[in-house]
Subunit: 321 residues, 2 copies
C-alpha cells in the first residue's frame, strides 16, 4: 500500500464530508465548533478507523465513514478544551477557539462537538449491537482522555514523575484515541472480540510510541521540521520521558529551564543526554512499543490494510527528523 | 399517585446508586466529577425517565435505571460547565467545581460526566436499537443544551430579545432535557414512535413552563422561598419573559437595574407589571404550555404513571409561592 496516497485520499474525503456537515451551519456557536475542525489536519484517526474496518471486511470503510468522522470530531473537541486550559493561542495555523471567540464559547463549542461525535457513531451503517459497543468504547476513551489531560497538567507542578506514570499519562492522552479508533472501526465492521482487542492494543501501543516520538522531535528536530519552538519542553522543564530518564541517571537539566536557549545550549543538552544513553534508551522504549503494536496484527492475514496499519506504526516513530 | 412520596423514593434510590458508582473513585478528577453529583438535588429528570418507562410497560423503570442516572449526570455536566461561564461560586449549597478545584479541572470534570452519561445509556437493560436511538436523542439534547446556554449568554449583551427568541432559548436550555428524559425512558421501555414523540412534547412543554415559572419565582417570591437573592433578574436587567413583555408594552424597568433594590422598589416594580397585565400574561403563557403538555398524554390510558407526569407538570408551575 502507498500509505501517503492513501492518507491523502482519506483526508480529502474527510474534508469534503466535514465541510458538508459543519461548513454551513448557522450561528456563532456552530461556527466556533466547526472552526478548528475545518482548519485541516492529517486526519490520521479517521484513516485508522477506515483501515481497521476494511481489514475486517473489505469495503466496510465506506459504510462506517460517519464513525471515522466521529473520531476526528472527538479529537478536535479535546483540542478545543485543552487549548483553553493550556492557554494556547494558535493551533493548525489558525487562532484557537477561545482566542477567536471567547472562553464560554470555546467550552460550549467543544461540548457541541462532543455531542456530534456520538451522533456520528449512530449514523454509521452497522449493526445496532456494534453501535452500542462503539458508543461505549468512545465514551470510555473520552473519560480516559480527560484523565490523561488532567495528569499532564498535574505533571507541570511536579518534578518527581516516574516512567510508569508517564506511560499512563501518554496512554490516556494519546494512545487511547488511536486504540478506540482501531477498535471502533473493527467493531462496526463486525470484527470478533479477539480482532477488536488486537486492534485496540495495536492503537494503544502505536499511540504511546507516537507521543514518545513527539517528545524527541521537540528536543532534537529544528523548528522548521517540528513546527514548534525548538526544545520548548526542555525550556519549560516538562516531565517528558527524556527528562524523567535524565533525572533518574543524575543528569541535571535544570540549567536549561529558562525562557530562551541558544542553539549551542540545546546542542550541549542533547550531547549530555546522548552521552548518558538517555536518547538511545527513550528511542528503544518507543521501538519496543512499535514491536508490541505490530505483533498485535499477526492474527490478521497479510493484506493492503494490514500493511497500511504497519506503515502507520513505523511512520509514528520515523517522522520529524 | 402520591407524587411527593414517589419523588422521594426515586431521589433516595438515585442517591444510593450515584454514591456507589461515583462516591469512591480515586483521584482528584473523579472527586471533582462526583462533587456536584453527590451534593443532592431533586432528581426530577431521573424520575421522569422512570415514570415514562413504567408508563410504557410497568416494571421497566428498574431495568433502565442507568439511563435515569444518565439524565442526572448530563444535567450535572451542564451545571459544572455553566458555573464556569457564569462565574457562580455556590451551587446546591456547596462550592462550585471551578471554585473548589480550578477551571481546567472543572472543564475536565464536566467532560468526564459527559462521557459517563453515554456509558450509562448503554448500561440499561433494553434492546440495542432502543439504546442507539437513546444515545442519538441524548446527543441531540446535549447539542441543544449548549446552544441554549450560548443564547442565554448572548441575551445578556442585548436588550431587544423577543418572545420567540426567549421561548427558543428556554426550550433548549430547560425544555429539551425534560423532553429527552421522557423520550429516552419511553424508547428504552419499547415505546412506539408516537408514544415517544408524545412524551417528548410533554417534556418540552413542561420544561418551558418550568423555566417561565423560575423567572416568576425570581421576581415574586421572597428570598427564603426562592433560595436566591430576591429579584436578581430585575436587578441584572435579564431578558426574561417578564422583561420582554414589559418592554413590548412600554413599561420601563431600567430604573430597577442596579446592584441592590429595597423591598419597596421591588414591590413597586411588581405593581407596575401587574397593572400592565404583564404578570397575568406571562402566567398565561406558562399555563398554555401546561395545557399543551397535558394534552400530549391523552394517548395514554389513565394509570399511576400518567397521573405522576400530570402532577409533575402542575408542580412545575405551582412551586415557589
Amino acid at each position: 500500500m502507498d500509505l501517503g496516497a492513501y492518507l491523502e485520499g482519506v483526508a480529502e474525503q474527510i474534508d469534503i464530508v466535514l465541510d458538508r456537515e459543519f461548513g454551513t451551519l448557522p450561528g456563532q456557536l456552530n461556527k466556533a465548533s466547526a472552526h478548528l475542525l475545518l482548519a485541516g489536519g492529517k486526519r490520521l484517526r479517521p484513516a485508522v478507523v477506515m483501515l481497521a474496518a476494511d481489514l475486517i471486511e473489505n469495503g466496510k470503510a465506506q459504510d462506517i465513514l460517519p464513525a471515522a468522522l466521529a473520531l476526528e470530531v472527538t479529537h478536535t473537541f479535546t483540542l478545543v478544551h485543552d487549548d483553553i486550559m493550556d492557554g494556547d493561542a494558535v493551533r493548525r495555523g489558525v487562532p484557537t477557539v477561545h482566542t477567536k471567540w471567547d472562553e464560554p464559547t470555546a467550552i460550549l463549542a467543544g461540548d457541541v462537538l462532543y455531542a456530534h461525535a456520538f451522533e456520528l457513531i449512530c449514523a454509521a451503517i452497522a449493526s445496532d449491537i456494534s453501535k452500542v459497543r462503539s458508543v461505549n468504547a468512545l465514551a470510555k476513551a473520552c473519560a480516559d482522555l480527560c484523565e490523561g489531560q488532567h495528569m499532564d497538567i498535574d505533571f507541570g507542578n511536579r518534578s518527581d514523575v516516574d516512567e510508569i506514570e508517564y506511560i499512563e499519562m501518554v496512554s490516556k492522552k494519546t494512545g487511547i484515541l488511536y486504540a478506540a479508533a482501531a477498535a471502533i472501526g473493527a467493531t462496526l465492521a463486525g470484527g470478533s472480540v479477539s480482532q477488536v482487542n488486537s486492534l485496540y492494543e495495536w492503537g494503544l501501543n502505536s499511540g504511546i510510541a507516537f507521543q514518545i516520538q513527539d517528545d524527541l522531535i521537540d528536543l532534537m528536530a529544528d523548528a522548521a521540521t517540528s513546527g514548534k519552538d525548538r526544545a520548548s519542553d526542555l525550556r519549560e522543564g516538562k516531565q517528558t520521558l527524556v527528562a524523567i530518564m535524565a533525572r533518574e541517571r543524575g543528569i541535571d537539566l535544570t540549567k536549561y529551564r529558562k525562557p530562551t536557549l541558544a542553539d549551542e545550549e540545546i546542542d550541549e543538552a542533547i550531547a549530555l543526554l546522548e552521552d548518558g544513553g538517555v536518547i538511545a534508551d527513550v528511542r528503544n522504549i518507543a521501538l519496543e512499543r512499535v514491536l508490541r503494536a505490530k505483533k498485535m496484527l499477526t492474527i490478521f492475514p497479510d493484506c493492503d490494510e494490514k500493511d497500511g496499519l504497519l506503515q502507520i506504526t513505523d511512520y509514528f516513530v520515523s517522522r520529524g527528523f
